[in-house]
């Protein structure tokens, strides 16, 4: 173990030689990434480029076919089975918070119940402590006043903010966002991006799959561009947006520029 004082360089997420096949389809091709603590990474690319699959491999919602995922010191080899593997996957999931495109709040639970469910059931946290933590996080996403509502009574933007609070209340080391604003009406996107920005400023390590180029440019420390299951560019946002090296990156940016961004 090296000393942990050299902050910039300690990767909290390390993906090594990751391959993923869906049947015969090779959707991720030998991907390796390291994400240091506190870094905000945006993954961009056309649909079908593999960016969501890559994100979902990190917390094993998709089982990698080959390769190694390491999150905060927990090393898990992909494509394995058995009790030990499941335990490692569980450990990785405890270190990662996930926010989905479709929110996936539990409709039969109130907002507060949604947020304390993980800490109480999975971590066995004392209910009172979980409620305190949950209320703190709901307050930070601006929705404490909705804590006793059911998700059905929330707008899409509010649902997503609750989903962020739910993930944060598990006290993860890294937050994964899978197109968090793609299912939202345009006028609701801003409130979710603002909450994400706040989470980033508080020092959370974040990996964000997004089409929001404005967010990528403004908030990300680093932008990774994917195409056909490969990383085609990995750089600071200024470089990606002002000086794209790969013509596919350029096409991607132009597409979104003309798309009104």
């Amino acid at each position: 173990m090296e000393s942990k004082t050299a902050f910039e360089s300690i990767p909290i997420v390390k993906v090594s030689n990751l391959d993923k096949y869906f049947g015969r389809l090779h959707v991720l091709k030998n991907i390796s990434i390291e994400v240091p603590e506190r870094q905000v990474v945006c993954l961009i690319g056309r649909s079908g480029s593999g960016k969501s699959t890559l994100l979902r491999c990190i917390n094993f919602l998709e089982e990698p076919s080959h390769g190694v995922i390491e999150v905060d010191g927990v090393r898990v080899a992909g494509g394995e089975k058995g009790r030990e593997h499941r335990q490692l996957v569980h450990d990785v999931r405890l270190k990662t918070g996930m926010v989905f495109q479709e929110f996936n709040l539990f409709p039969h639970m109130t907002v507060l119940e949604n947020v304390i469910e993980g800490p109480v059931i999975v971590k066995g946290m004392d209910r009172k402590r979980a409620v305190d933590l949950a209320e703190q996080n709901l307050d930070s996403v601006g929705l404490l006043f909705k804590k006793d509502e059911y998700p059905m009574r929330l707008s899409g933007g509010q649902k997503q903010r609750v989903a962020i609070a739910r993930a944060l209340t598990m006290e993860p080391r890294v937050m994964l966002f899978d197109e968090p604003t793609s299912a939202l009406d345009p006028e609701l996107i801003g409130e979710v991006l603002n909450v994400m920005k706040k989470v980033a400023l508080e020092g959370m390590t974040m990996i964000v799959v997004t089409h929001e180029m404005g967010f990528a440019r403004e908030v990300a420390d680093r932008v990774i561009v994917m195409a056909e299951g490969e990383l085609i560019e990995d750089n600071k946002p200024e470089e990606i947006f002002n000086n794209p090296k790969d013509p596919r990156t350029e096409a991607l940016i132009v597409r979104y520029r003309t798309g009104g961004n």
Partner: protein, 282 residues
Amino acid sequence: MTAVSKSQNAPKSQADLLYDLQLRKERHFRANVGLSWGILLLILVFLFSGQEITIGSQTFSTIKIDGQFILNEIDFIAGGLGQTLLISILSIMLAIVLALLAALGRLSTVPPIYAISTFYVSLIRGTPLYLQIFFFFLALPQLGIILSGVFAGVLALGLNYGAYMSEIFRAGLASVGKGQREAAQALGMTPGQTMKRIVLPQALRFAIPPVGNEFIAMTKDSALVSATGFVHELMWRATKVGRAQFHNLEALIMAAIFYWLVTLVLSYIQNKIETRLSKGDR
């Protein structure tokens, strides 16, 4: 929901007027349906009133039923209500457990478990309920297994309805989206926790109204258990006194009325539950 703009004296908007008109039409329709029901009921009562009507030279008479017999035997027949309800309640409880297990079995990727579930459903759905009741009551004793009439009836009804209701629970489980399971997984829940905390509560909520329907159907199918001759529920009592005194008409009419009343009450309760659920959080 109700129109909000009830401000005093303000002229009603076009939308409000249309809404009122629609409400009035609906109320009108329902009133007429109620009235028609009343008339149909009166006709039915009249048909069994034993009246003689003379039109010109022709004399018609409606069906005459023996009021004295009814008065004498109503207590005896009504005494079967308890058994009917008991059998139905026990059977539906057994059926719910079996249906849920069968539905979960259908989701299993373990071949024997999947096979047991589909085999059970196929076997039960492929044979008559009447036969199943006799099987448990009459065929098992030959193997040295002697079940009481109620027990055999509950077993047969429970097994039978469980097979049919497994489809309801399967649909309920299928109604819970993949995203729900993924969200639970991402929080670190085990498959067991995910099923118990996230999937089942939602699936069961979905299943409550159709299970209510099955329960109502079951109260009527419980009449088949009378065939064993040892369960003194409504149907058994009606046929017993009807045959003994050759008053099957009156006896069966009484039983029919009891069944009808029970299903009316149950449908009413089910309706209430359903509207409550639909108002909830889905």
